[in-house]
Symmetry: C2
Subunit: 248 residues, 2 copies
């Protein structure tokens, strides 16, 4: 997600916040996620941001509206962007969504898709093991393949032609997911949609950054666990400089 933003908007400064001390969010209750999201928003507001991206699907699923109501800034959320992308992608009107349990339980993707086109059919599948498998680095491992087969079985049975990767961890599994979904299903990775939407909003509001030498990237996390550096760099495809640990 951050990588897609950097590539699409090379002149924008980016402040990344990762609540590494309390992840994963996808299995927590709505009340707890709302409370944690509030704390994160408070932290980011101290940095005078001009636009906020809710990159975590689980936070977007349960707290996007509350965050929007609170803020004067434009807020782009990954589920809104993913829903638009899915509706634009599908040919047969049957969309599959794989996501964390809390995202699936919130029904947020179905609501997002139906707000755009009420005739669409949406099939969601909770995949609680995919985040741990990505964290373990088993991106192309027989265990991951078998797990994906099990999770995709009921979704494929619904003959979807589009599959939304409804969690920021899942794009790392794209090759494996594409193989198991088969050639007739298009994968929707929300990162590109989010970057496009951010670009459009910045342009519309005339708040895009001017062309400059280089942008400033800062990374704040609540914990620096054992394998953070390697996992983080795998996501970003670049080295993590200006990484700071903070307490909320």
């Amino acid at each position: 997600m951050t990588r897609a933003l950097m590539e699409r908007l090379p002149f924008e400064d980016i402040i990344y916040f990762g609540d590494t001390a309390r992840v994963p969010y996808g299995v927590k209750s709505v009340a707890t996620i709302e409370q944690f999201a509030q704390q994160i928003v408070d932290f980011l507001l101290q940095h005078e941001v001009k636009l906020m991206v809710i990159a975590c699907n689980t936070i977007a699923a349960v707290a996007a509206q509350k965050i929007r109501n609170r803020l004067d800034l434009p807020v782009v959320d990954v589920i809104g962007a993913g829903a638009r992308n899915a509706v634009a992608t599908t040919r047969n009107g049957a969309i599959g969504v794989i996501a964390t349990p809390t995202t699936v339980n919130s029904n947020a993707y179905a609501r997002g898709v139906h707000a755009l086109d009420a005739t669409m059919r949406v099939y969601s599948q909770a995949c609680p093991l995919l985040v741990p498998l990505v964290e373990e680095g088993w991106l192309d491992h027989p265990v991951t393949r078998m797990t994906v087969q099990e999770y995709l079985r009921p979704v494929l049975a619904e003959e979807v032609d589009t599959l939304v990767l409804g969690c920021t961890h899942y794009p790392l599994l794209k090759p494996l997911l594409a193989q198991e979904a088969g050639p007739n299903i298009r994968l929707v990775d929300s990162a590109t949609s989010v970057a496009e939407e951010v670009a459009a909003v910045l342009h519309d509001r005339q708040i895009a950054a001017p062309v400059k030498q280089s942008a400033d990237y800062r990374y704040y996390v609540t914990d620096i666990p054992l394998r953070f550096q390697s996992t983080g760099e795998r996501f970003l495809g670049r080295s993590l400089q200006k990484l700071e640990m903070v307490q909320l």
Copy 2:
């Protein structure tokens, strides 16, 4: 663990604290775990406990000494108990330990075993996927079996005759682990060892509860996630009454 304590010490009141909003601990940094552990100890002290059990292997691995130094109470920790049990169990002096990454990284089991007998050999294997697999409820699933095979391979190659289940989630995988470890390896589940040690300490200090009608059990958690009730009851083998959500 709580179940073993209830069975061994039926007259003792038990206050259980589960930091469900911030689990899993096994992949967090030492600094963060120490800080979280401190908050939990503060909470439990408000309830005038007479003895504290560190039931989480990861907390025991990195914070047991600090907690002991701070408290006037007896503290029983799962790693000390597990190490004693392993040393008493092994015949060939080769002990395997499966645990979370942070527990393995701390080397706490090896230190615990070597403090008792410096001639023992200890082989530890981090198993980050086993907690998520238990949480998913895949206790006897081909994916879990394949994952266990992969994690156990290097440990079995060391010809251990004893395998310590170094995480409170793992006893739920006991049947599968026993099959994959084979008939020549004994599994050490620290729950029973902890309960025995607690009983001994209560007796030695003459602070055991008198015989009474029934004991009082209270459960405090920081989040009540979607599947908490079912997972919790699977662990305890009893229904969860007096469950309260608190903020630290």
